[in-house]
């Protein structure tokens, strides 16, 4: 599965703003494009965003990251399931992060290794 390391792009330990998140869009787009294999054309293969080296994240940052994810998947034109794994999350899942996920039609739950799995909760079909 394609893994994107946030700390390769952003040096800050606390990720705060939407503007910071937008700096990830280009590298994320390039990585997902190069990593996409024919077998993954459905878009169901989860993208892994690794927060190793990040000590804290604000809801605004995560919200913008999910908007970027939506944009990337939308540009693929497949209308497929959206899923994202946040590995090495700097904090525990809390109500504010659940609220951010809800805003994008997604739910978030912790995996046994502590990662977060965000998956779409609504169909993108009309």
């Amino acid at each position: 599965m394609p893994t994107f390391r946030v700390h390769d792009v952003l040096m800050d330990k606390i990720l705060v703003s939407r503007e910071s998140a937008r700096l990830l869009e280009g590298p994320l787009r390039a990585m997902t494009a190069s990593a996409r294999r024919p077998a993954d054309a459905s878009g169901t293969t989860p993208l892994i965003v690794d927060f190793q080296g990040v000590e804290g994240v604000a809801p605004s940052f995560l919200d913008e990251l999910l908007s970027i994810l939506e944009s990337l998947i939308g540009s693929e034109g497949n209308g497929g399931e959206r899923s994202l794994i946040v590995s090495n999350p700097p904090t525990r899942i809390s109500l504010k992060f659940e609220a951010v996920a809800r805003g994008h039609g997604m739910s978030v739950r912790a995996l046994p290794d502590g990662s977060w799995l965000l998956t779409s909760t609504r169909s993108s079909c009309p």
Partner: protein
């Protein structure tokens, strides 16, 4: 430490002098105050709020006060208050914030304060036509502002920051005080919020207290 020395250690006099206010602080000695994590610092953009937050985090880590995992908690909450100030206040003087560590008789605490000289929470929410009828008073606006997805922008993805802070302070010993216009709202560990009329603050002030 006396009041004058405390205000100087906060960085208040430096901020006033930077803005052309004549302040004679000669002879006020503060020494090194290990409790001052981030003195009163000016910021007026999201990028500056982000930079100030990361500075606060680095200083919290090097100060070695409180539990290690609290550094991120304190700075995450501070960052949301700082972002709110620069994104919604429309303050002509920008925003100011500080982070302190205090050892009170009842225990040690982190104190975060962010203030701006902007339009206030009520006027900000009124930018959203759908909310206008629900915010007759400053204290109404504060009660509404801490709810999920309530924002003056009308953007369905906004309105999480203050909601998140208000949820995170509903833990033992934590508290949040918001003061905007003539309204104030306090949220504490008892899952209660108390909104009331109070004296005028020309802008918005957020005061966060987190025990170690």
């Amino acid at each position: 430490m006396g009041v004058r020395a405390h205000l100087k250690s906060l960085g208040l006099f430096d901020v006033l002098k930077e803005r052309g206010v004549e302040v004679d602080d000669r002879g006020i000695h503060t020494g090194t105050d290990p409790k001052m994590i981030l003195p009163v610092t000016h910021f007026e953009s999201s990028a500056e709020a982000s930079a100030v937050t990361n500075t606060a985090f680095d200083r919290l880590q090097s100060a070695s006060v409180g539990a290690a995992n609290l550094s991120a908690v304190v700075t995450e909450l501070y960052s949301e208050l700082a972002l709110n100030a620069v994104q919604h206040s429309e303050s002509e003087v920008g925003a100011f914030g500080c982070v302190q560590f205090y050892e009170f008789e009842c225990g040690a605490r982190f104190i975060c304060t962010v203030a701006d000289g902007g339009i206030g929470v009520r006027a900000s929410l009124c930018r959203n036509v759908a909310l206008r009828s629900r915010v007759s008073y400053d204290w109404d606006a504060l009660e509404l502002a801490v709810r999920e997805r309530v924002s003056g922008t009308g953007d369905p993805h906004r309105g999480i920051g203050l909601y998140g802070v208000s949820e995170d302070v509903r833990r033992p010993g934590r508290s949040l005080l918001l003061h905007s216009g003539i309204g104030s709202l306090e949220i504490n560990e008892n899952l209660e919020s108390s909104a009331r009329r109070t004296r005028l603050f020309p802008g918005t002030l957020a005061f966060l207290s987190i025990p170690t």
